[in-house]
Structures are given as structure tokens and as C-alpha cells.
């Protein structure tokens, strides 16, 4: 037991789950009534779209890039979901597929010209927002019934967001951490030269990772309108920050392909709960993003401490 508690590797991988548990414990202590299925459902409602956006960001961070456009992109897919997908399902599906293809093309462009991803994605964030405004000029639209049905799915005894989060974590964990091509994809971030010399196409890995990010961005947009039932071009502007913070909280390293899908989902849950925590503490919502920044810095500080310990040992 004691060996585990002083083992830096163990501490580092336990940090995301520990931060979530500490936050949950604090919430239950302040507001015991939150400890019900209804309370959990309410607090974690938006965890599903945030977790999906976080996974999307994680794919990009795996290949050493950063996506500053995922928020507007999620907003765009939400707008398409609440308009085209409802009125003309075939066209809607085609539009969403085109969005994913555009992400793959961005990956190709960034690889081909060796471009800094933050500048490209910052530019693209305007493009996504512009298209979203054209698709849905004023807030409105209606989510397709099947999307709403999925998001209001109820299982007796367990809050739905937790089930959905677990499914997301398991599926992505298996695909990225347990398959041999998943290892190649992570290697493209960890040691691109070695992966390239071993005969794998770096262009292909980049395109696959960007396409995967686009796919999860689409899922995030759809799950979001499943909850809100209407959309708006600016509906997910904050998701860029949420997704980056979620990956980092979940133990993802910024460079080197070291990421954790389970951690990313836990990080997204932690971020979602911060809002409820502040409400229970009766702190003004003004401080919500500040508190999220504070938690981020705190977790990073703990990780720096663990890393320093490891370096000394």
C-alpha cells in the first residue's frame, strides 16, 4: 500500500480520478441531497457533450497539435443537427460527413505544409462560426426526435451521463490504447521519426486523428442539441477551453502522444461538476471559469510536484 502511495507513476495516473472524487465528496458534504439519481442527472447533464468534445481535442493533442476551433465546430454541427438533419436527414448526414472530411483535410494540410496547428485552427474557428451563422442566422431550430430520445434515455438506478461517459471512455480506450494501430497513432505524436522510418504514413496518421476529432466533434454537437433541443451558432464557444482543460485535467501530456481517454472523460466530468460546486457554495457564477482555471492550475501544480519527486528518486 505504502509503495503505491509513493510511486510517482501510480500517483500520476490516479490524479484525475482523485480530483473528481474529492470534488464529488465536497459537493455531497455541502449538499447531501445531490446524492440522488435525480441530482446526479442534473449536475452531470452537460457532461456528455463536454466529454465528447474533450475526446476530440485529445485526438489532436495526441499528435502534438492543439485545436482552437473545436468549440465553434461543435456549434456548427449543432446548428446543422437542429436544421438540415431534421428537415432533410440525407442532406444533414452528408453535411456532417463533409465536416468530418474537412477536419481530415485540415490534418493533411497541417502535415503537408508543416503548419502550426494553433494558427490554422484559430483561422478555421472563424470559418466554422461563419458557416454556422449562415446555416442558422438566429437561435432556434429543432433537434431530431431520435437525438432527443437518446439523450433522455433512462436506466433505473444509474444516472445516464455516467453510463454514456463510461461507454465513451471504454470505446476510445480500446481503440487507441489496446489496438496495434492505436499504438502507431500515439507513436506519431511520441516519436514521429521512428514511426515514419518504420514505414507508416505520417500523413495518414494525422488525417485519421483529425477525422476522429471531427467525428467526436459531430457527436458532441448532436448530444448537445439532444439536451437543449434548439441550437445557436455560439452555443458551444466555451467548448474549446473546456476540451483543452479536460484533456490536461485527465493527465494528458501536451507533447509526446501521452494521453489517456479514461482520464480525459474523468477530466470532463470534473469540469462539469465545478459549476454545480460553485452554485452549492453560493459563489457567483462570475467565478465559474475562474474556478475551472484554478482547478486546472492546482492539478498541474500537483503533477509538477509528483514529477519533481520522480526526478529526485
Amino acid at each position: 500500500m505504502k509503495r503505491y502511495l509513493t510511486n510517482p507513476k501510480f500517483l500520476r495516473s490516479a490524479l484525475p480520478a482523485a480530483s473528481l472524487l474529492v470534488l464529488l465528496a465536497a459537493i455531497f458534504y455541502i449538499q447531501p441531497r445531490a446524492m440522488s439519481q435525480f441530482g446526479m442527472n442534473l449536475m452531470l447533464q452537460y457532461a456528455v457533450p463536454i466529454a465528447l468534445a474533450t475526446i476530440a481535442q485529445m485526438f489532436i493533442i495526441t499528435v502534438n497539435d492543439l485545436d482552437l476551433s473545436i468549440g465553434p465546430f461543435v456549434g456548427l454541427t449543432a446548428c446543422i443537427g437542429a436544421t438540415l438533419l431534421n428537415t432533410n436527414p440525407l442532406l444533414g448526414v452528408l453535411a456532417l460527413l463533409a465536416c468530418i472530411a474537412a477536419y481530415a483535410a485540415l490534418g493533411a494540410l497541417i502535415h503537408w505544409r508543416n503548419l502550426p496547428s494553433i494558427v490554422v485552427t484559430l483561422g478555421m474557428s472563424f470559418v466554422w462560426l461563419g458557416i454556422a451563422v449562415l446555416v442558422l442566422p438566429t437561435p432556434g431550430g429543432t433537434a431530431p426526435d431520435w437525438v432527443k430520445a437518446i439523450m433522455s434515455f433512462k436506466v433505473p438506478g444509474i444516472p445516464f451521463p455516467l453510463i454514456a461517459a463510461a461507454i465513451i471512455a471504454v470505446v476510445v480506450h480500446f481503440a487507441l490504447m489496446r489496438t496495434s494501430y492505436g499504438a502507431v497513432l500515439r507513436g506519431a505524436g511520441g516519436n514521429p521519426k521512428a514511426i515514419g522510418r518504420a514505414g507508416w504514413s505520417l500523413l495518414k496518421t494525422k488525417m485519421i486523428m483529425y477525422a476522429a476529432a471531427g467525428f467526436f466533434g459531430v457527436l458532441a454537437g448532436l448530444s448537445l442539441i439532444g439536451l437543449t433541443s434548439a441550437a445557436d451558432a455560439h452555443i458551444a464557444d466555451r467548448y474549446t477551453l473546456y476540451s483543452i482543460a479536460g484533456v490536461i485535467l485527465g493527465g494528458g501530456e501536451f507533447v509526446g502522444g501521452r494521453v489517456s481517454p479514461t482520464g480525459a472523460v474523468l477530466g470532463a466530468l470534473t469540469l462539469t461538476l465545478t459549476g454545480s460546486f460553485l452554485i452549492f457554495l453560493k459563489i457567483s457564477p462570475d467565478w465559474q471559469i475562474g474556478a475551472q482555471g484554478g482547478i486546472l492550475i492546482l492539478v498541474l501544480a500537483l503533477r509538477a510536484l509528483i514529477n519533481r519527486r520522480e526526478a529526485q528518486a
Binding site: 503548419l115 494558427v119 484559430l122 483561422g123 482543460a245 475562474g290 486546472l296
Partner: protein, 319 residues
Amino acid sequence: MSSMTASLKNLREKPWIWSYLGMLVVWLATISFTGGKGGGDVITAALSFATFTVIVGIGQMFVITTGPGNVDLSIPANIALSGAVAMKVMGGENEMLLVGFAASMGCGLAVGIFNYSLIRVLRIPPIIATLSASFLILSTAIAYGRGLKIKPPLLLSDFTTLQIAGIPVLALFIIVVATVMSVVLNRTLYGRSVLAIGQNMRAAWLAGINVERIRFATYVLSALMAALCGFLLAGFSGGASLNMGEEYLLASIAVVVIGGTSVAGGKANVPGIWGAALFMFMLVTMLNTFGASAGIRLIMTGLIIVAVITIAGGDKPER
């Protein structure tokens, strides 16, 4: 033939020329659409608005020049906070002008020190550090500036909107600042050190440059420029608002890139920032004149940035 390659090489060494050429093309397209009307007004407006982008762009340029991964994402939050603090401290009184200016500079200094200490103490990439910092700064600005409807002192709003023969005085003032910064970049020990670190941090360290001190100064400089922008912008737009910094995140990075500064670090130039800022403003004006909708304007702005970086950013060696 050889003279052509020589002039091509010359052009490559002056990447800022493109932003001015782009500006000229866009301006000509605009006034040919209106039949020559309002050409001067466009320039006046472009100079007024580009000024603020140039201020933050200069700070961002120094940060980006220190090498890959260095970028200041806390600029919008910093603009919002320092603008709000200055307005509150001055309370609309002319005689408090200097105190208000000092207060916003103090804000900038604090933000810069905070940003750098996160990078240094937590050893996290600057993108994440300045992003986390911006969360906290923005929250402070929101909590501090809620319901804040204080008019700027008359002296400040007059100064920031003053024009002589259609030329905004503030723009002239910032042209002087940009010139000074250009000298700082190219002729001082600090500027040369920034360039050296951007080219090769290890080599710069081995050459005896105090890398950490230079990086510290650079993040503080960027934060001070953002604070200056917040102070002047609040005066220009008749008071501080919480989202007045929002557009400057993209704008500050875009003008640096379009202006010909290398995103890989180690190569920078100040004149390009002015050209790029004017170009960006005139582009939006042109699209407005053509009657393009908000959506089209956003799409075009984004595509131009992606196009410029695609053309410019190709041949950077990987380090």
C-alpha cells in the same frame, strides 16, 4: 535571370511587403466598387482600428519569436481586466488620468508575472499556462467589472479619437511606439537575445544569454502591451466592456503571421504588423461594401488567415 532571382531573394527577406500589397489591392477594390467615394474615410477608419491590433500584435510578436510553443493566450482577458480597472480608478475624472494609466499598467505587470511564473514553476507549455491564467483573469474582470458603466475621462476619450486632417493622432503615436519597438528588436541586446532564443534556445543559452530572464521580460512586455490596449480601447469606445478583448486573440496572432514573422520563432519584423492590421481591417470593410453577410465576412477572414499561413509557413525546418 540573375537579377530576377536576386530581387526574389530580396522580397523573401522583406516578407512584410506582402501585407502592404494586400492592403493596397483590397483598398483599390473597395474604392473602385464605390466609384472613388469614401476612399479617405476608409483609411482614417483603418488607421483608428488597426492601432489597437498593432499594440497587442507587437507584444504577441515578441512572445512568438521566442520559439515554437510560445504564445500569449491571455491577451483578451488582460485587455478586459486592465480596461475595467483603469475606468474604475479614474471614475471619469481628468486629473486621475495618470493614476488610471498606472493602474492598468500595474494590472498588465501582474498578469505578465503570473503568466511567467506558471510557465516556470509548473513547467507547463506557455499555451496552457496563459490559457489557465486567462480563465482566472477573465473571472476577475467579470466579477470586478459587473455593471460597470463608467465613462472614460474626457481627456482620454478626446485623445484617443482626435484626428488631424483625417489622420488619427493615436495612430501616429503608435507608429512611433512601433518604430521604437523595431529598434528594440533589431538593435538592443534584449531584442537580439529574443531572436537568438527563437532560433535555437540551447545555443543561445550556451552563448551566455540568460534565457529565463529574457523570456520573463517578453511575457511581461506582452502583458503590458495588452494592458495599454485595454486602457486606450476603453477610452476610445466610451468605457470598458467585458468582451472588448475577445477579437484580439485571433487578431494579435493573425497580424504577426500575416506580417511575416516566423511562427517557428527567431525571425520577426514590426512594420509587417502595421501592414497586416490595416489589411485585416480593410478586408472586412471591403466585404461590408460588397454587401457580404456576417457569415461570409467570418468565413473570408478565417480562410485568408489559413491561406496566408499555408503560403508562408511551408519551409520551416523541424527542430
